[in-house]
Amino acid sequence: MHLKKLELFGFKSFLDRTGFNFEPGVTAIVGPNGCGKTNVVDAIKWVLGEQSALALRGSHMGDVIFNGTDGRKPLGMAEVSLVLDNEDGSVPLDYSEVMITRRIFRSGESEYFINKTPCRLKDINELFMDTGIGTRSYSLIEQGKVDLILSSRPEDRRFLFEEAA
Protein backbone atom coordinates (compact mmCIF):
# COMPACT_ATOMS: atom_id res chain seq x y z
CA MET A 1 0.00 0.00 0.00
CA HIS A 2 1.46 3.38 -0.92
CA LEU A 3 0.43 6.90 -1.87
CA LYS A 4 -0.20 7.44 -5.58
CA LYS A 5 -1.35 11.00 -5.84
CA LEU A 6 -2.03 14.11 -3.78
CA GLU A 7 -4.18 16.87 -5.18
CA LEU A 8 -4.49 20.31 -3.58
CA PHE A 9 -7.12 22.83 -4.57
CA GLY A 10 -7.34 26.14 -2.73
CA PHE A 11 -5.30 24.66 0.13
CA LYS A 12 -3.03 27.30 1.67
CA SER A 13 -0.76 28.71 -1.06
CA PHE A 14 -2.04 26.27 -3.71
CA LEU A 15 -4.68 28.40 -5.40
CA ASP A 16 -5.06 26.27 -8.49
CA ARG A 17 -5.67 22.54 -8.59
CA THR A 18 -2.19 21.03 -8.22
CA GLY A 19 -1.23 17.37 -8.37
CA PHE A 20 1.75 15.48 -6.95
CA ASN A 21 2.36 11.93 -8.18
CA PHE A 22 4.11 9.52 -5.87
CA GLU A 23 5.83 6.20 -6.52
CA PRO A 24 7.02 3.52 -4.13
CA GLY A 25 10.53 4.49 -3.03
CA VAL A 26 11.79 7.95 -2.24
CA THR A 27 10.17 11.20 -3.37
CA ALA A 28 11.93 14.50 -2.72
CA ILE A 29 10.03 17.79 -2.48
CA VAL A 30 12.28 20.78 -3.14
CA GLY A 31 12.11 24.53 -3.63
CA PRO A 32 13.06 27.87 -2.05
CA ASN A 33 11.99 29.12 1.39
CA GLY A 34 8.29 29.89 1.58
CA CYS A 35 7.36 28.29 -1.75
CA GLY A 36 4.90 25.75 -0.27
CA LYS A 37 6.77 22.51 0.56
CA THR A 38 5.58 22.28 4.18
CA ASN A 39 2.09 23.24 2.95
CA VAL A 40 2.18 19.96 0.96
CA VAL A 41 3.03 18.12 4.20
CA ASP A 42 0.18 19.98 5.93
CA ALA A 43 -2.17 18.86 3.15
CA ILE A 44 -1.29 15.20 3.77
CA LYS A 45 -1.90 15.60 7.53
CA TRP A 46 -5.12 17.46 6.89
CA VAL A 47 -6.72 15.08 4.40
CA LEU A 48 -5.94 12.22 6.80
CA GLY A 49 -8.09 13.96 9.40
CA GLU A 50 -5.87 16.35 11.40
CA GLN A 51 -8.20 18.16 13.82
CA SER A 52 -5.79 20.62 15.36
CA ALA A 53 -5.39 23.97 13.57
CA LEU A 54 -2.25 24.49 15.67
CA ALA A 55 -0.65 21.38 14.16
CA LEU A 56 -1.14 23.09 10.80
CA ARG A 57 0.43 26.32 12.10
CA GLY A 58 -2.92 28.17 12.12
CA SER A 59 -5.34 29.29 14.82
CA HIS A 60 -8.57 28.04 13.24
CA MET A 61 -9.23 25.46 10.53
CA GLY A 62 -10.33 28.14 8.06
CA ASP A 63 -6.67 29.23 7.94
CA VAL A 64 -6.00 26.43 5.45
CA ILE A 65 -8.19 28.00 2.78
CA PHE A 66 -6.30 30.08 0.22
CA ASN A 67 -6.71 33.59 1.59
CA GLY A 68 -5.60 35.68 -1.38
CA THR A 69 -2.51 37.58 -2.47
CA ASP A 70 -1.84 41.11 -3.72
CA GLY A 71 -3.20 40.04 -7.09
CA ARG A 72 -5.79 37.40 -6.18
CA LYS A 73 -8.94 37.20 -4.11
CA PRO A 74 -9.38 34.65 -1.30
CA LEU A 75 -11.30 31.45 -1.99
CA GLY A 76 -14.31 30.18 -0.09
CA MET A 77 -13.26 26.56 -0.03
CA ALA A 78 -10.22 24.30 0.16
CA GLU A 79 -10.08 20.69 -0.99
CA VAL A 80 -7.43 18.00 -0.81
CA SER A 81 -7.62 14.49 -2.27
CA LEU A 82 -5.25 11.63 -1.59
CA VAL A 83 -5.20 8.56 -3.80
CA LEU A 84 -3.78 5.36 -2.31
CA ASP A 85 -2.72 2.24 -4.13
CA ASN A 86 -4.65 -0.65 -2.62
CA GLU A 87 -3.37 -3.54 -4.79
CA ASP A 88 -2.40 -5.45 -1.63
CA GLY A 89 -5.89 -5.05 -0.21
CA SER A 90 -4.70 -3.63 3.10
CA VAL A 91 -7.61 -1.18 3.00
CA PRO A 92 -10.83 -3.22 3.42
CA LEU A 93 -12.48 -1.96 0.25
CA ASP A 94 -12.94 -3.75 -3.03
CA TYR A 95 -10.99 -1.20 -5.01
CA SER A 96 -7.37 -1.26 -6.22
CA GLU A 97 -7.30 2.50 -5.63
CA VAL A 98 -8.84 4.40 -2.74
CA MET A 99 -9.34 8.15 -2.86
CA ILE A 100 -10.03 10.16 0.27
CA THR A 101 -11.12 13.77 -0.05
CA ARG A 102 -11.63 16.51 2.50
CA ARG A 103 -13.22 19.87 1.88
CA ILE A 104 -13.59 22.86 4.15
CA PHE A 105 -15.61 26.04 3.81
CA ARG A 106 -15.14 29.43 5.47
CA SER A 107 -17.81 28.40 8.00
CA GLY A 108 -15.26 25.91 9.30
CA GLU A 109 -17.31 22.87 8.29
CA SER A 110 -15.35 19.91 6.89
CA GLU A 111 -16.78 17.39 4.44
CA TYR A 112 -15.22 13.97 3.85
CA PHE A 113 -15.45 11.57 0.91
CA ILE A 114 -14.24 8.06 0.16
CA ASN A 115 -14.03 7.50 -3.59
CA LYS A 116 -16.17 10.62 -4.01
CA THR A 117 -18.95 9.26 -1.80
CA PRO A 118 -19.71 11.49 1.22
CA CYS A 119 -18.82 9.92 4.56
CA ARG A 120 -17.85 10.89 8.08
CA LEU A 121 -14.31 11.31 9.45
CA LYS A 122 -15.11 8.29 11.59
CA ASP A 123 -15.45 6.15 8.45
CA ILE A 124 -12.04 7.21 7.21
CA ASN A 125 -10.43 6.46 10.58
CA GLU A 126 -12.02 3.01 10.64
CA LEU A 127 -10.92 2.35 7.08
CA PHE A 128 -7.30 2.94 7.94
CA MET A 129 -7.37 1.41 11.40
CA ASP A 130 -5.22 -1.61 10.59
CA THR A 131 -2.92 0.09 8.11
CA GLY A 132 -1.46 2.59 10.56
CA ILE A 133 -2.15 5.44 8.15
CA GLY A 134 -3.00 8.68 9.90
CA THR A 135 -2.54 7.16 13.33
CA ARG A 136 1.17 6.56 13.74
CA SER A 137 2.93 9.76 14.68
CA TYR A 138 6.28 8.29 13.67
CA SER A 139 5.03 8.38 10.06
CA LEU A 140 5.41 12.13 9.84
CA ILE A 141 8.24 14.23 11.27
CA GLU A 142 7.58 17.98 11.11
CA GLN A 143 10.11 20.67 10.27
CA GLY A 144 12.28 21.46 13.29
CA LYS A 145 10.83 18.61 15.33
CA VAL A 146 13.28 15.77 14.69
CA ASP A 147 14.91 15.88 18.11
CA LEU A 148 11.64 16.47 20.00
CA ILE A 149 11.76 12.82 21.00
CA LEU A 150 15.07 13.45 22.76
CA SER A 151 14.05 16.66 24.51
CA SER A 152 10.64 15.39 25.60
CA ARG A 153 10.16 13.94 29.07
CA PRO A 154 10.49 10.15 29.53
CA GLU A 155 6.73 9.79 30.21
CA ASP A 156 5.86 11.74 27.08
CA ARG A 157 7.91 9.47 24.82
CA ARG A 158 5.87 6.38 25.60
CA PHE A 159 3.15 7.04 23.06
CA LEU A 160 5.46 6.30 20.12
CA PHE A 161 6.14 2.85 21.55
CA GLU A 162 2.49 2.28 22.36
CA GLU A 163 1.61 3.03 18.75
CA ALA A 164 4.18 0.48 17.60
CA ALA A 165 3.01 -2.16 20.07
Partner: protein, 165 residues
Protein backbone atom coordinates in the same frame (compact mmCIF):
# COMPACT_ATOMS: atom_id res chain seq x y z
CA UNK B 1 -0.94 -6.03 26.43
CA UNK B 2 1.82 -5.74 29.03
CA UNK B 3 3.73 -8.49 27.25
CA UNK B 4 2.97 -6.81 23.90
CA UNK B 5 4.57 -3.62 25.13
CA UNK B 6 7.57 -5.41 26.61
CA UNK B 7 8.13 -7.31 23.37
CA UNK B 8 7.84 -4.15 21.27
CA UNK B 9 10.18 -2.32 23.63
CA UNK B 10 12.73 -5.12 23.42
CA UNK B 11 12.68 -5.17 19.61
CA UNK B 12 12.87 -1.38 19.28
CA UNK B 13 15.76 -1.35 21.76
CA UNK B 14 17.65 -3.96 19.76
CA UNK B 15 17.15 -2.09 16.47
CA UNK B 16 17.94 1.26 18.08
CA UNK B 17 21.29 -0.03 19.33
CA UNK B 18 22.12 -1.50 15.95
CA UNK B 19 21.04 1.54 13.90
CA UNK B 20 22.91 3.92 16.22
CA UNK B 21 26.13 1.93 15.83
CA UNK B 22 25.65 1.94 12.08
CA UNK B 23 24.91 5.67 11.85
CA UNK B 24 27.73 6.63 14.24
CA UNK B 25 30.19 3.97 13.07
CA UNK B 26 30.47 2.65 16.59
CA UNK B 27 29.42 3.75 20.06
CA UNK B 28 26.42 2.51 21.97
CA UNK B 29 22.80 3.46 22.55
CA UNK B 30 19.92 1.91 24.43
CA UNK B 31 16.52 2.55 25.92
CA UNK B 32 15.83 2.13 29.63
CA UNK B 33 12.47 1.78 31.35
CA UNK B 34 12.49 4.25 34.22
CA UNK B 35 10.28 1.97 36.32
CA UNK B 36 10.60 -1.69 35.36
CA UNK B 37 7.85 -2.74 37.74
CA UNK B 38 5.29 -0.49 36.08
CA UNK B 39 5.87 -1.22 32.42
CA UNK B 40 2.55 0.17 31.24
CA UNK B 41 3.13 3.60 32.79
CA UNK B 42 6.90 3.89 32.95
CA UNK B 43 8.75 6.65 31.17
CA UNK B 44 11.50 5.75 28.71
CA UNK B 45 15.06 6.97 29.18
CA UNK B 46 17.44 7.31 26.22
CA UNK B 47 21.14 6.48 26.63
CA UNK B 48 23.48 7.38 23.77
CA UNK B 49 27.28 7.37 23.57
CA UNK B 50 29.03 8.27 20.30
CA UNK B 51 32.19 6.19 19.60
CA UNK B 52 35.23 7.12 21.65
CA UNK B 53 33.29 9.51 23.86
CA UNK B 54 32.29 9.00 27.47
CA UNK B 55 28.68 8.38 28.36
CA UNK B 56 26.88 11.58 29.30
CA UNK B 57 23.35 12.90 29.37
CA UNK B 58 21.91 13.17 25.85
CA UNK B 59 21.46 16.90 26.51
CA UNK B 60 25.21 17.35 26.05
CA UNK B 61 25.20 15.87 22.53
CA UNK B 62 25.70 18.25 19.62
CA UNK B 63 22.85 19.41 17.36
CA UNK B 64 23.83 16.94 14.66
CA UNK B 65 24.43 14.09 17.11
CA UNK B 66 20.96 14.63 18.60
CA UNK B 67 19.39 14.55 15.14
CA UNK B 68 21.23 11.31 14.22
CA UNK B 69 20.24 9.71 17.55
CA UNK B 70 16.59 10.71 17.02
CA UNK B 71 16.75 9.33 13.48
CA UNK B 72 18.13 6.02 14.77
CA UNK B 73 15.26 5.78 17.25
CA UNK B 74 12.53 6.74 14.80
CA UNK B 75 13.79 4.28 12.20
CA UNK B 76 14.09 1.59 14.88
CA UNK B 77 10.39 2.05 15.71
CA UNK B 78 9.60 1.95 11.97
CA UNK B 79 11.63 -1.24 11.68
CA UNK B 80 9.51 -2.97 14.31
CA UNK B 81 6.17 -1.80 12.94
CA UNK B 82 6.48 -0.10 9.56
CA UNK B 83 3.82 2.27 8.36
CA UNK B 84 3.08 2.36 4.61
CA UNK B 85 4.62 5.79 4.13
CA UNK B 86 6.82 8.25 6.00
CA UNK B 87 6.94 12.03 5.52
CA UNK B 88 10.10 13.84 6.65
CA UNK B 89 10.25 17.64 6.58
CA UNK B 90 13.84 18.93 6.43
CA UNK B 91 15.15 16.56 9.11
CA UNK B 92 18.60 16.71 7.47
CA UNK B 93 18.97 20.44 8.27
CA UNK B 94 21.43 20.08 11.21
CA UNK B 95 23.56 17.38 9.53
CA UNK B 96 27.01 17.76 7.99
CA UNK B 97 27.88 16.19 4.61
CA UNK B 98 29.09 12.90 6.01
CA UNK B 99 26.01 12.42 8.20
CA UNK B 100 23.71 13.41 5.36
CA UNK B 101 25.27 10.62 3.32
CA UNK B 102 24.57 8.11 6.11
CA UNK B 103 21.03 9.39 6.54
CA UNK B 104 20.39 9.16 2.80
CA UNK B 105 21.65 5.57 2.76
CA UNK B 106 19.37 4.67 5.66
CA UNK B 107 16.38 6.16 3.82
CA UNK B 108 17.25 4.25 0.63
CA UNK B 109 17.55 1.03 2.64
CA UNK B 110 14.24 1.60 4.46
CA UNK B 111 12.43 2.60 1.28
CA UNK B 112 12.23 -1.06 0.26
CA UNK B 113 9.46 -1.50 2.85
CA UNK B 114 7.99 1.98 3.07
CA UNK B 115 7.41 4.91 0.79
CA UNK B 116 9.34 8.06 1.77
CA UNK B 117 8.39 11.63 1.03
CA UNK B 118 11.21 13.97 2.00
CA UNK B 119 11.23 17.76 1.98
CA UNK B 120 14.83 18.89 1.66
CA UNK B 121 17.20 21.61 0.50
CA UNK B 122 20.16 19.23 0.31
CA UNK B 123 21.67 17.98 -2.94
CA UNK B 124 22.86 14.65 -1.52
CA UNK B 125 19.44 13.81 -0.13
CA UNK B 126 17.87 14.81 -3.45
CA UNK B 127 20.35 12.69 -5.38
CA UNK B 128 19.23 9.55 -3.55
CA UNK B 129 15.55 10.04 -4.36
CA UNK B 130 13.61 8.38 -7.20
CA UNK B 131 11.34 11.31 -8.02
CA UNK B 132 11.84 15.02 -7.40
CA UNK B 133 8.91 17.41 -7.23
CA UNK B 134 9.85 21.06 -7.41
CA UNK B 135 7.56 23.62 -5.80
CA UNK B 136 7.78 27.22 -6.98
CA UNK B 137 6.06 30.55 -6.50
CA UNK B 138 6.56 32.25 -9.83
CA UNK B 139 3.51 34.36 -9.13
CA UNK B 140 4.07 35.63 -5.61
CA UNK B 141 2.05 33.79 -3.01
CA UNK B 142 0.82 31.13 -5.48
CA UNK B 143 2.45 27.69 -5.27
CA UNK B 144 2.86 25.52 -8.30
CA UNK B 145 4.42 22.13 -8.86
CA UNK B 146 7.09 21.88 -11.57
CA UNK B 147 9.74 19.71 -13.16
CA UNK B 148 9.46 16.17 -11.93
CA UNK B 149 12.79 14.50 -12.59
CA UNK B 150 12.44 10.84 -12.62
CA UNK B 151 15.01 8.07 -13.06
CA UNK B 152 13.84 4.61 -12.09
CA UNK B 153 17.12 2.78 -12.72
CA UNK B 154 19.98 4.80 -11.34
CA UNK B 155 20.49 8.16 -9.84
CA UNK B 156 19.10 11.55 -10.69
CA UNK B 157 21.25 13.12 -13.36
CA UNK B 158 19.55 16.51 -13.78
CA UNK B 159 21.23 19.53 -12.26
CA UNK B 160 19.47 20.67 -9.09
CA UNK B 161 17.55 23.97 -8.97
CA UNK B 162 19.44 27.16 -8.08
CA UNK B 163 17.33 27.36 -4.94
CA UNK B 164 19.01 24.28 -3.51
CA UNK B 165 22.27 23.86 -1.64
Amino acid sequence: TRSMFVETFRKVNEQFGRLFRSLFDGGKAELILVDERDVLESGIEIIARPPGKKLQSISLLSGGEKAMTAIALLFAIRGVKPSPFCVLDEIDAPLDDSNIGRFARLVRESSRNSQFIIVTHNRTTIATSDIVHGVTMEERGISKQISVRFEKEGRLSAKPEPALR
